[in-house]
Symmetry: C2
Subunit: 233 residues, 2 copies
DNA sequence: AGAATTATTGACATCATGTCAATAGACCGT
DNA sequence: ACGGTCTATTGACATGATGTCAATAATTCT
């Protein structure tokens, strides 16, 4: 439109010149199995996206880091966005080990154990997860869906640990409250690990106290007269 | 480089052809004062950024919406990013009216009033503010700074309302806890207004209860033995 | 070995962004 | 009114990023 360059449209495609010269030393092409290559590119992308924000990482950068032609990135992941979403999806779930192994003690004890486990996990696997809920660039529907989905997993496990699992009634609302709490947990962890304004003990107190309060007060408060309709028994 | 179009490079700059033809009806150029024009462009950008995510809004779109050449956007805001940051900065602060007019009753009462005011404000000024903390695109240092700064404002006012203002000691840590709480508040409001999973009453209960718990339990818990050093009295 | 398969490449075409000289509105003094 | 000055505004670059696709070369199979 703007530039009328158009050129020989009938010619199929001019053959790549390949001209520059020989490539330094290494073997010129390393041919891998699709799975391997995909994973390799993915790893590089993960590293780069953790380093600087989305739009400052070019597909060229990723390809270069993987030692690969840029086109290959698109070949495996469609587009940069798709690749990014996969990276996020992987990093947005907190590892799901050892939730079944919770004590059967009082609510307070179970909460303490959960919080301890949560903080332990974070202390090791560290920052990537924390960064997610933070900066609010353009809220993206797909991205948000991924994040919400991951949050739902955590919430489900949290409810199980709290013994709030199978109550059909206010289920959806309890879930919502746990989701809200999850934001608090994330934010608290951020103050601890990223900004370093709170000690671990303080965060622990904050999180467990708050969770106890919610489970004890807010959750029961919605069971008697829950929805807009559906009167009390 | 790629396309050898180049053309007469010695000529200073080929004069704009201006060719197409006369422009429909309106006056061709509307010359405004810089302030007016700036504001107008800003308004259009705000509208568009509220509608779709950052990178799906092109500078061309903004310019078109404002009925202006794309170059003018850059002239006034430097680059698209700068414009976006300004939009965010404006929308990231919750209006600061009427915090001074808080009752002097019990803590519980003051909290209820604060939460009520908060929810009222949100109910009117609505969604833009809520969307901010949500999607986590590339966490961006500048953007994050703006968000944190705005959050600090809210936190400051919140502390004032809670009567936690001038305690020199754990000040920074109290602030951190309030910041954490602010995330909970935002998240709760989101469940109410955006996802519609909780009623206003439920959110109110959740927020006020949690805040009460924090102010009553978590905050005092850090004053006796606050930092890593500084032993108990 | 040679044929067949397919992972990989590199060159487009398109689009977005930022820059800047040139242009044309508006305002002024005369 | 009129010409001159100021500057808001434009449009054409230059650059870089993205996605597509036929051509190429590294494997595997026979």
């Amino acid at each position: 439109m703007t530039s009328t360059k158009a050129a020989t449209d009938t010619s199929p495609r001019s053959a790549p010149k390949e001209g520059s010269g020989v490539v330094p030393a290494e073997q010129r092409r390393q041919r891998l199995s699709p799975d391997e290559r995909r994973e390799q590119i993915f790893a590089c992308a993960q590293k780069l996206f953790a380093l600087r924000p989305y739009e400052e990482v070019s597909a060229t950068d990723i390809a270069a880091a993987a030692g690969v032609a840029r086109g290959l990135v698109n070949h495996y992941f469609g587009n940069k966005r798709g690749l990014y979403l996969e990276v996020v999806r992987l990093n947005s779930t907190v590892s799901e080990v050892a939730v079944a192994t919770l004590p059967d003690g009082t609510l307070q004890e179970r909460i303490d154990a959960s919080v301890t486990w949560f903080l332990d996990t974070l202390e090791h696997t560290g920052g990537t997860w924390l960064a997610l809920g933070s900066g609010g660039m353009g809220r993206d529907p797909d991205l948000e869906r991924i994040l919400v989905e991951a949050e739902n997993d955590s919430v489900e496990r949290l409810m199980e640990a709290m013994g709030l699992a199978g109550r059909g009634e206010g289920q959806e609302q309890v879930r919502a409250m746990m989701r809200v709490y999850a934001q608090l947990a994330r934010s608290g962890a951020r103050e601890w690990l990223l900004r370093k304004t709170l000690s671990r003990r303080q965060v622990h107190t904050l999180l467990s106290g708050t969770l106890l309060g919610i489970v004890r007060d807010a959750v029961p408060a919605l069971t008697p007269a829950t929805g807009p309709h559906r009167g009390p028994a």
